[in-house]
């Protein structure tokens, strides 16, 4: 497969994902906009996967000088904050949304 056709494939996926995103998310009620934002925040924490790839690349290339290693670890750390914090805080918020009052 050529590079160009691979690029076009990725662009197609991007376009479809944008449409799916608009469709799915425009149905979220305003009541849930804060949890929506923190949940999507957690989902872009998938950047952690990218950080893991880059660590493997860096160490595989034997280029791991101290500065680069620190940068790569920082990328992993930030990604992990994003994933774990994002999901935890969303879970905490959603626990609070209740339909009827309990114990009444």
């Amino acid at each position: 497969m050529t590079d160009v056709s691979h690029l076009i494939e990725l662009l197609t996926v991007l376009l479809l994902a944008i449409f799916v995103g608009f469709e799915v998310i425009s149905k979220v009620p305003t009541t849930l906009h804060t949890p929506l934002m923190s949940a999507t925040n957690a989902i872009h924490g998938i950047v952690l996967a990218g950080a893991i790839v880059i660590v493997a690349e860096l160490f595989g290339a034997n280029l791991n000088g101290p500065a680069l290693t620190i940068l790569a670890i920082a990328a992993v750390t930030l990604g992990a904050i994003n994933v774990f914090g994002g999901f935890a805080v969303t879970e905490r918020m959603l626990q609070m949304f209740k339909g009827k009052e309990r114990g009444r």
Binding site: N64, N82, K98
Partner: protein
């Protein structure tokens, strides 16, 4: 494709399905929690797959990073107060943007070593995700500092601001173009200048935006990080990152548009208008004399509430600042005991992030079916005995409906003035964030109850009990 690669691709496919279905489940408070959990499972699958793929290379670096990040993220998530949610989300958002920028930077160095094959697609996506990620990172940090009130929430402006920003943007574009033309063979100093410029742009871009416009900024930064992540997907050839980034970008864009529509101001005005920077002073001199207002005592208001048949609470950022949400719920409980129908009117931009008030009231156990958004609640005011405005100002200002010269003219508002009685709980007669006088306070059906929102509501609860 080896068997392992096939398995990893399939795992990614499952993760993507779980993310999309999880987001779909967020369409109702009843299923939202399951949606979040599905997305968590998706994330676990995706991360497990990538760990299998990367093997043991650099395992300790990954372990150290994940351990530190997970600890910080989870502890912060469990400790944060619900009123501080906007700045928390801003920080997580900045973390994502920062990670994207760092990934690109490491990739840049690795590519200089020649072990990774650079091509034009990688060069373009690398430099774009580095720039957007850095802008999002720095912008989110400033948004955090403003919301946390480490620095002033007012717009920070200085002469020549737009010129400075334009120069930085041009510089970034020039260096970025240089990067692409040389296919990543930029001198290290030039790359560092580029990153520094992007960080400065992020700072300078959020500085002039005032506190009440934060819902727009946070949504926009959310969207920016999503875009940075999607572009990182092109850089490291990962369909997973492209899709996740696109989903978040779409979500952030929807929220950004919804927020600026709820303020009836074009996005460019929110971002570059430094709204509220000078407005306060102008009205102060223009109005001169004090408004003719009526004040009420807590006992008067309590009587009004106790014998009402329908009461609507209208919370704003003042409720969050005073941490009054639990007191508000206690008052509502008292009223409901007496058979009063209680509803809550939530303006889309009340608070400092989209949906902020809903989270606070959910925290104090208000059932979500009592939380009505603007379209649903506005017809209710005409049949309401008392509208109790708690720390909200501009979103109740009738000038938005009928004073074409008002800066907020055309902004959709909550029609509290249509209620038989309006009671405004306010700290003082100081005008709202935008510095605009509110004619609501002079209307014959409106009275003011001055004081800290929490203290006032507690007083009302005690007085209603005594009725």
């Amino acid at each position: 494709m080896s068997d392992i690669d096939v398995a990893i691709s399939l795992a990614n496919l499952v993760a993507i399905a779980l993310f999309i279905y999880g987001l779909h489940e967020l369409n109702s408070p009843a299923t939202a929690r399951r949606g979040n959990r599905l997305a968590m499972v998706g994330m676990a699958i995706a991360l497990a797959a990538i760990l299998v793929k990367s093997g043991t290379i650099g395992w300790w670096a990954i372990l150290v990073g994940v351990a530190i990040g997970a600890a910080i993220g989870i502890v912060a998530a469990l400790k944060v107060k619900m009123t501080a949610m906007p700045q928390m989300v801003a920080l997580y958002n900045g973390a994502g943007g920062g990670a994207a920028a760092l990934i690109s930077s490491v990739e840049f160095y690795v590519a200089r070593g020649g072990t990774v094959q650079m091509n034009d697609v990688i060069a373009v996506s690398l430099v774009l995700s580095a720039i957007i990620g850095a802008v999002s990172f720095a912008g989110s940090i400033i948004a955090f500092l403003k919301l946390q009130e480490v620095m002033t929430g007012r717009p920070v402006t200085y002469p020549g601001q737009q010129v400075v920003n334009a120069v930085i943007v041009l510089g970034i574009l020039a260096l970025g173009a240089w990067f692409v033309v040389t296919i990543g063979a930029l001198p290290v100093w030039a790359y560092l200048v580029l990153m520094l410029g992007a960080l400065m742009l992020g700072v300078l871009f959020v500085l002039p935006i005032g506190g009440a416009d934060m819902p727009v900024v946070i949504s926009l930064l959310n969207s920016c990080t999503g875009v940075a992540v999607a572009i990182t997907g092109f850089e490291i050839d990962s369909v997973l990152l492209v899709i996740c980034g696109a989903l978040v970008g779409a979500s952030g864009t929807i929220l950004t548009v919804a927020m600026s529509r709820a303020m009836n101001r074009p996005l460019t005005n929110v971002l570059f208008g430094a709204f509220g920077a000078t407005g306060g002073m102008e009205t102060a001199t223009a109005s001169g004399g004090a408004q003719q207002i009526r004040t009420a005592s807590a006992d008067d208001v309590a009587l009004m509430l106790a014998y009402a048949s329908k009461v609507i609470f209208v919370p704003g950022y003042g409720m969050a600042v005073a941490q009054a949400q639990h007191s508000v719920k206690a008052l509502a409980d008292q009223l409901e005991k007496r058979g009063v129908k209680v509803l809550y009117a939530i303006h889309p931009v009340a608070g400092r992030m989209p949906g902020h008030m809903n989270v606070l009231l959910a925290e104090s156990n208000v059932p979500y079916n009592q939380l009505l958004d603007m379209e649903d609640v506005n017809p209710e005011f005409a049949t309401t005995d008392v509208a109790l405005v708690i720390g909200a100002n501009d979103v109740t200002n009738p000038a938005a409906r009928n004073v074409p010269s008002s800066p907020i003219y055309g902004m959709p508002i909550l029609d509290v003035d249509k209620a038989s009685n309006v009671v405004v709980l306010k700290r003082s007669m100081r005008s709202g964030f935008a510095g605009i006088e509110n004619p609501l306070y002079e209307m014959p059906n409106c009275s003011m109850l001055f004081g800290d929102a929490k203290a006032s509501v507690d007083e009302l609860t005690a007085a209603v009990k005594a009725v």
